[in-house]
Amino acid sequence: MVPALVLIFSLAFYIRLHPGRQTPAVYLAILSLAFTPLLHFRPDHNAAILLLILFSFFLWLWSLVPRGKWVVIILALVSVFWGGLLAGKIVSWPAAVDRTRLIFDVPTYKDAVRLHQRDARYVPFPVRRLLFNPSVYTYILGNNFFRFLTLENLMGSLLLANLYPLGLGLADFFRRPEDFPRPFRVFLLLLFLQITVSRSPDKFNSLYVWFPLLAYLILRGARDVRLKAYFLLLLISIIFVLPRPV
């Protein structure tokens, strides 16, 4: 029931923004989206499921209403933000932050900063404090995000085949961001932040509430894929990913 609802709202959102005749690859993408393991994942909190449904619904509503779009988008933002924190286990129900799950409380990072400040005798101490300080967290956040973006994580949650249109959709976004719905930049920034601040982001928990957004990117990218290659990848995905051995 939940996957069907979410998929329907996500498709409705896409079709509202891109009406007219769709290419065969888009239909294939719809089929593959129905099979994505992420859609069938069940998070620990039921509230996260509800917030996912709400997020997909608000996205569709946003595409539908002619006025008051900003109210709808705020509701969508709240639901996806809260849902993301709940599904990612960064907060426990209803809103207590679990600091042990955040990247900022790792003792080894703090110790390393102190150690390098003490050891870097090739520069005077004031310069050492400039070189080795908590600004290293920006590097850690970047590392955390890109460590999450592995083929294995993305394949496991979205299917190998969908990485092809997802890549094209993202490339399209970075090339022509003005062609995408305005709130997209904020959504992607939120997704980035949610993955980065988590100490050990999990492929399902971290991406769960973001399914509608990813589905949109996949459908958007599917318009430009080579049908044969996409079909072949889908076949491989079905053979390799769906029947999970032992």
């Binding site: 990072y109 390393a112 050891d119 870097a120 290293v136 590097y139 460590r147 973006l149 592995t150 032992v246």
Partner: protein
């Protein structure tokens, strides 16, 4: 080529030189387990023509629980003859071939259709890439193999461009064959790359007889090493020890009779995919893959400087624009490179995956060129990018040349070289030198002092050939290499005991005569003699 280009090339080579050659004996802080094995075999060959295990001019060098490809050892013979055993002699071939890879890289970019600007950028990027700097400064086989792959490809592309030049093709095939002798990854990778080249340039390769002759030449040249492998199959070949199916979890499941063959096939496929994924992980490639510092240290360096990630992302999507004729080949090359390392244990391993360095650098080069073109007059953009690269390079240099030798010395079995200095002076004072090979906290690791001590004391390798090895330990000359249990040990005069810091003798009978400390001031080894 105009004067400005010549100056830039000279500058790039100078950069390659200063990042690869100075302080070879200082960073990495000590010859590693694998390096000393190569260095000793080169030293042994230089005087006896036999390796550590008394095999005459072997094609596969038996090392600690594994086997090494031959070319690096044979290339190490000349430096060790000229300079004597030491850190520089061991690491010099790798540093030289590392430097030589830079001009070959520039030529490759040009031959693949890149502009002169791109060729220079490619050379500059390679000269500054932490992965290549690190690999060029250790005596490992993969860096030398990388050069021969690059040079082989260079020769092949010359042959294609210069109307099937037989000389270029011959050089190419010899170089590709040498890469097979240089490292085990190339056993599969080089034939695979050649197959791709043959298919990609099929209009030439399938129609011209010289290419068939080239293939025959390659097969003839590599046949001895494969014959040697087949002869010794199941006994000592490295391919039998490093394959991914030996991963304990997978191995257990594959041997489980309750799992159907199709499921086993899926398990194998998933394991390879998992390994491939870890080799292509952007976090590993750009943030912490080099693993110079202890685990959890946020100042780790990636295999590439992290701003290169921006260029790689752009280059990946826009490669066809910068290399219109050969972008497909570059894509295939980049996708193929991590495949062979993915078939081995303990992924990701930066040494095995070094073959990916060149295609990734070419893609990064394309990214730089695209962004440079896109913002031809924007000073701010160039200043920001230059600052980011400079800052990340500064951190890499600080970590690599200063913090890494201090914090990771123990991983390189630091201390044996320093202890060898003490032994050299006092060799005549003792009848027996007993060395406990364990080291680290609570003696968890077992080292190879039986190679370090003779190498740095310049012992005659002939003495090693008549060694005795049994369940108690290893014995040659006046050395005994064995675990020392002080409860059963009976110390005697004229004996020198060298033990790790966590295995000191009971107080009373023996006295400490020498101590070696790690660069972070912890004790590494201690020498004890009779009171």
């Amino acid at each position: 080529m105009n004067t400005a280009e010549k100056i830039i090339i000279a500058f790039i080579l100078f950069l390659g030189l200063v990042t690869r050659f100075p302080g070879l004996g200082y960073s990495p802080p000590h010859l590693s387990n694998d390096e000393i094995s190569i260095a000793w075999d080169a030293y042994s060959l230089s005087t006896t023509m036999r390796d550590e295990h008394n095999v005459f001019l072997p094609l596969s060098f038996r090392s600690h629980n594994t086997y090494k490809a031959p070319l690096t050892v044979y290339l190490g013979v000349l430096p060790v003859m000229l300079m004597g055993p030491g850190d520089y002699a061991a690491r010099l071939p790798s540093a030289i071939f590392g430097l030589l890879t830079i001009p070959v890289m520039m030529a490759l970019v040009r031959l693949l259709g890149g502009s002169r600007f791109m060729a220079l950028t490619g050379g500059m990027l390679l000269a500054l890439t932490p992965w290549h700097i690190y690999s060029s400064r250790v005596a490992l086989e993969s860096n030398i193999a990388l050069f021969f792959v690059a040079f082989g490809l260079f020769g092949f592309l010359i042959a294609i461009h210069k109307k099937n030049s037989v000389i270029a093709l011959t050089i190419s095939m010899v170089s590709f064959a040498l890469s097979v002798y240089a490292y085990h990854t190339q056993w599969i990778f080089t034939p695979l790359l050649l197959a791709v080249l043959w298919l990609y340039f099929h209009r030439r390769t399938f129609t011209r007889p010289e290419y068939y002759l080239g293939a025959v030449l390659f097969l003839l040249l590599v046949s001895p090493i494969f014959t040697d492998y087949i002869k010794n199959k199941g006994t000592y070949a490295r391919a039998n020890t490093e394959i991914f199916t030996h991963e304990p979890g997978l191995d257990r499941q594959l041997k489980n009779p309750g799992i159907m063959p199709f499921q086993k096939f899926l398990l194998v496929a998933m394991s390879i995919t998992g390994n491939y994924s870890s080799y292509t992980n952007p976090g590993y490639l750009f943030f912490d893959g080099l693993n110079l510092l202890p685990r959890g240290d946020p100042y780790q360096s990636g295999l590439f400087l992290w701003p290169f990630l921006i260029f790689l992302s752009v280059g990946l999507f826009r490669l066809p624009r910068m290399f219109p004729r050969h972008s497909t080949f570059i894509y295939i090359w980049a996708a193929l490179s991590p495949l062979v390392p993915s078939l081995t244990l303990n992924a990701p391993n930066q040494v095995r995956n070094l073959v990916s360095l060149l295609p990734y650098t070419i893609i990064i080069t394309a990214g730089v060129a695209i962004l440079w073109k896109k913002y031809p007059t924007r000073f701010l953009y160039r200043a920001v990018m230059a600052t980011l690269i400079f800052v990340s390079l500064f951190y890499f240099c600080a970590v690599y040349y200063y913090h890494f030798p201090r914090q990771s010395a123990q991983n390189f079995q630091y201390g044996y070289k320093q202890m060898a200095g003490f032994i050299s002076i006092h060799y005549q004072d003792y009848e027996k030198i007993i060395i406990d090979p364990r080291f680290g906290d609570a003696n968890v690791y077992s080292g190879v002092p039986h190679l370090y001590i003779p190498y740095y004391t310049r012992m005659d390798p002939r003495k090693m050939l008549v060694r005795v090895e049994n369940s108690r330990g290893l014995f040659f000359d006046k050395y005994e290499f064995r675990d020392i249990n002080w409860n059963s040990e009976t110390p005697a005069p004229n004996r020198l005991y060298i033990v790790p810091r966590d295995n000191p003798p009971p107080p009373g009978i023996l006295r400490a005569v020498h101590e070696v400390t790690l660069p972070d001031s912890k004790t590494a080894l201690k020498a004890f003699a009779y009171q």
